[in-house]
């Protein structure tokens, strides 16, 4: 069986309306993949940067997968949230990106978006916060039924991922 190691970190996020951000992340794979070790989902700490716009999480990722097929290649899905000084949390963006398929070190910028409500909801959001959220987060990494959504652009999340593959050449896979 071929193996894949994903070793890196979720570096941080920038370009959001406010800092004091955290990120809920997860890795989704197809049926042919089996997780041998590592955590495939988690939540980062809340970071309030002293200077600058970028919130740094440095959240380590160390995943070991075994696979029988190339379908369902792993992808990261992220949710960026804002926590204010009272501890209330507000959604700032959804995003997803594929795990790179070539071995080596990669820097990835994952773009995020947020669902947009009606103009009444947007007005309420300015004063009270909150806002619409997806009922099922699978929509973040699947294309089905997206046409119903109206969204606005939010910031980017930086990831640094290192990929190590094993026995891919034995099975004739070029990457």
């Amino acid at each position: 069986m071929a193996e894949l190691h994903i070793i890196g970190q979720i570096v941080g996020g920038s370009g959001f309306p406010q800092t004091s951000l955290f990120c809920k992340w997860g890795v989704h794979t197809g049926g042919a993949w089996r997780l041998l070790s590592g955590l495939k989902e988690g939540q980062t700490q809340v970071d309030i940067p002293q200077t600058g716009d970028m919130a740094y999480w440095s959240h380590p990722i160390d995943l070991h997968y075994a696979t029988k097929g190339l379908q369902g290649w792993p992808k990261f899905h992220l949710q960026v949230w804002h926590q204010d000084s009272f501890g209330r949390c507000q959604l700032y963006g959804y995003g997803y990106c594929h795990v790179p398929s070539s071995p080596g070190h990669h820097r990835i910028s994952c773009v995020t978006w947020r669902p947009l409500g009606s103009w009444q909801e947007q007005m309420a959001q300015i004063f009270v916060g909150g806002g619409p959220q997806l009922r099922s987060p699978d929509l973040v990494y699947s294309g089905a039924d997206r046409y119903r959504l109206h969204t606005e652009a939010m910031g980017t999340v930086e990831l640094e991922l290192g990929i190590i593959t094993r026995h891919f050449d034995k099975y004739g896979v070029e990457s």
Binding site: G42, Q43, M54, Y56, G87, H105, I164, F168, D169
Partner: protein, 209 residues
Amino acid sequence: MAATNPSVFLLTVNGQIEGATFPEYDNLYCKYCFVYGHDWAPTSGLEEGITQITCKGSQSSHRLIWNFPLETTFKSTNPSGWPQLVVSVYGPDVFGNDVVRGYGATHIPFAPGQHTRTIPMFVPEPTWKLQKFTSWLLGRRPEYTDPKVVAQGEGREVTRVRSQGFVTVSFHIMTKDMKKLGYDTGPSSPTHAHSATSGWSTEEQPYKV
């Protein structure tokens, strides 16, 4: 003497903790240690250490230099649990107490060659203003009981931190027998491959290898 069917591979890390950028703090020293998984074991070199105390030079306003050597070799059967370098920076506060100025961690690069990493440093943040004031007054800031926690992903969702500086580390990596065991780590890095993680990485580059 080379084994035709090796069962372990080796990772040799030569490098240095070059220095740090902390706009608001001075007279800092740094403690480092390596954190790795169950399948890994160090075969030579030191696993942890403390640098000297340094202060900012007259030329560059933000830059502190340690130039502290790192030379360690690890062996393993499995890339899971790849070693991480955990760095903690300490310095005196206004009253002379030794307080923590930042924790950070980065994975050791795995492609052979030269790499530079800029590690963002963060401190745990007290949740309410009164606690912030008393900890500033008494010099007892929130600290992690074991800095190795920084290298793990679990349990982070309840912590609130403030990022306030960067540490620059450069590595020269060599591996042995990874290809024989079937692992492909990608192309070797070209020389001077920089991986700055911040928009405000060091303004000057005075110490090219």
